[in-house]
């Protein structure tokens, strides 16, 4: 019996549910009388900063020559030299012939700068990236140690994994910063990245161990029967196959790490979350900013999972 299922009624139902939920949220927000001020958000991505141009010595304004949006102000200084300053035409604070004193503002120059949301995102990204690389290295080593036949080596790895997985990341970050960081005089970034890397490493270790153990025993036997040493067999035969297999759980772990990195904001690292909180203290645009921050995390994580999906298909050629 062939059952041809039509898709569109279900798509319709999905759309209806989403619309109802959105309407519900909209309705409840209406009732608490929140004033949405989305127009205040873009400036926190990019903004035009105006820097004052000041005079370095006393002098007299000789002439002002406009050139499009900007203007050139020529000043005769008391030491006889001549200075030309370029400022925005509509910000000129001086007139021709005016006498200026050292430190007076001639005008302003505007430049585009990254707002706190984008600088916060950059911080989040590099902290996550650094912690991922470190975490992968730690996890690989701890995973290999865990399957070691040596009791001491495998127990060391097991204890590490148990401790990290049995305590909350937030507490680990506090310990890394306030305890270990104080003892060894660590920078907050080092403490934050270190805590995230150790945390991710414990989970990566378990993933690596499971990946290696999922490769049939015959692979190692075949490699060893050809005269390869254990390290050779590991790096040439077992790990390449295991890494391909663990790519999906591994990428899930790193995507989690990006989200977990928001916790380093508690030790005053200005990542995306902390930036959001700082903006809110000055704007009170609580709803808008948190929604934007969430959307930014979502964009980063979905781009990453798309990339991993692409990688998986590339690696599937030998299947």
């Amino acid at each position: 019996m062939k059952v041809a299922q039509k898709l569109w009624p279900w798509q319709l139902l999905l759309a209806a549910i989403l619309i109802v939920m959105a309407a519900g949220i909209y309705g409840s927000v209406k009732r608490i009388d929140y004033e949405w001020r989305w127009y205040r958000v873009p400036q926190y991505f990019l903004y035009k900063a105006e820097d004052p141009i000041k005079i370095s010595d006393d002098g007299i304004v000789e002439k002002i020559t406009p050139a499009g949006d900007t203007a050139k102000v020529t000043v005769n200084l008391v030491d006889g030299s001549r200075k030309v300053l370029e400022v925005e035409a509509d910000t000129i604070r001086v007139e021709q012939g005016e006498e200026l004193f050292i430190g007076d503002t001639v005008g302003y120059v505007a430049t585009w700068r990254l707002g706190p949301l984008l600088t916060g995102l950059v911080t989040t990204m590099w902290i996550s990236a650094a912690a991922s690389v470190l975490g992968l290295a730690i996890g690989l080593i701890a995973g290999l140690m865990k399957i070691s036949r040596n009791y001491t080596v495998s127990m060391l790895a097991a204890i590490y994994v148990e401790i990290i997985r049995g305590t909350p990341l937030l507490v680990q970050i506090f310990i890394a910063y306030f305890f270990i960081g104080t003892v060894f005089n660590l920078d907050r970034n080092v403490a934050g990245i270190g805590a995230l890397a150790l945390f991710a490493g414990a989970y990566v270790a378990e993933i690596v161990r499971a990946g290696i153990q999922s490769i049939p025993k015959g692979q190692m036997e075949a490699a060893r029967s050809l005269g390869m040493s254990l390290p050779q067999a590991m790096t040439e035969i077992i790990l390449p196959q295991a890494l391909k297999r663990i790519l999906p759980p591994l990428s899930g772990q790193f995507i989690s790490l990006i989200k977990d990195s928001s916790l380093v904001s508690v030790i005053a690292i200005t990542d995306l979350t902390k930036s959001g909180r700082e903006i809110i203290t000055s704007t009170f645009a609580t709803f808008e900013i948190w929604l934007v921050v969430a959307a930014m995390y979502l964009i980063v994580t979905s781009l990453l999972s798309q990339f991993v999906f692409y990688l998986e298909r590339r690696l599937a050629i030998s299947d």
Partner: protein, 244 residues
């Protein structure tokens, strides 16, 4: 070439002790083809795996070319490079192409140059009749083709001895022949071989000597003519009656 002395391998599990290999003493001379047969669980696979040290044994000695692999000072990797092994499950490296399967160990263990390794690999692939598949991945090959690649992979190391651990047991019946043909050709070329198999036809046609194992011990040993026509032991007679 191979000499084993009183090899004992004990498996312990749940308090029970199983003497999988129980004092096996035998030799395989240069150029000789020795076939090991016996019922399932008789320890023949465990025994052949002891010969290249894939299975560690509890007591006894295995000498390959006069070197004792039970000696802790022996570099087992060096010995294994001289002893090719073919497995029941082929165990090709799935992430490498057929050609790379043949060249990897040549380059990493024998330290051959890429050109030399490639040349050797292509020569062997032609020999086992699958030269056209060199850039395929193993998963694209049939079982018989995979096993022939596995034989070529072992031969690429220029081994002095070849061990075969039930090389045709995982194959579809119509593919058994192509693998046995390659093995027969090897035997004719004078390769020293030790073969664990259930293929009685192969044993009768190719073997110089047949070992019959049961309960971890060699029950009977002799030429194929003696073995298949006039077996001495009762256990051997019973086994042959069941399989022939």
């Amino acid at each position: 070439m191979i000499r084993t002395e009183n090899v004992v391998k004990i498996f312990t599990g749940r308090g029970a002790e199983v003497r999988a290999v129980d004092g096996v003493t035998t030799t395989v001379d240069k150029g000789e083809v020795v076939v090991v047969i016996g019922p399932s669980g008789s320890g023949k696979s465990t025994f052949i795996r002891c010969v290249n040290g894939l299975e560690s044994f509890d007591s006894g000695h295995v000498y390959i070319d006069g070197v004792d692999i039970a000696d802790r000072k022996t570099n087992i990797n060096k010995i294994r490079a001289e002893v090719g092994m073919v497995f029941q499950q082929f165990n090709l490296f799935p992430h490498r192409t057929v050609l790379e399967n043949l060249t990897l160990a040549q380059r990493k263990v024998r330290k051959r140059k890429k050109s030399a390794a490639d040349e050797k690999a292509r020569m062997l692939l032609r020999k086992v009749g699958i030269a056209e598949k060199e850039s395929e991945y193993p998963s694209r090959l049939s079982g018989g083709q995979q096993q022939r690649v596995a034989i070529a992979r072992a031969l690429a190391m220029d081994p002095k001895v070849m061990l075969f651990d039930e090389p045709t047991s995982a194959l579809d019946p119509e593919m058994v022949g192509e693998v046995l043909d390659v093995m027969k050709q090897l035997a004719r070329e004078g390769m020293t071989m030790m073969v664990v198999t259930h293929e009685m036809g192969f044993a009768r046609e190719v073997a110089d000597r047949v070992l019959f194992m049961d309960m971890g011990k060699i029950v009977e040993e002799g030429t194929p003519e003696h073995f298949f026509t006039a077996p001495r032991e009762e256990r051997t007679q019973l086994f042959l009656k069941q399989v022939l």
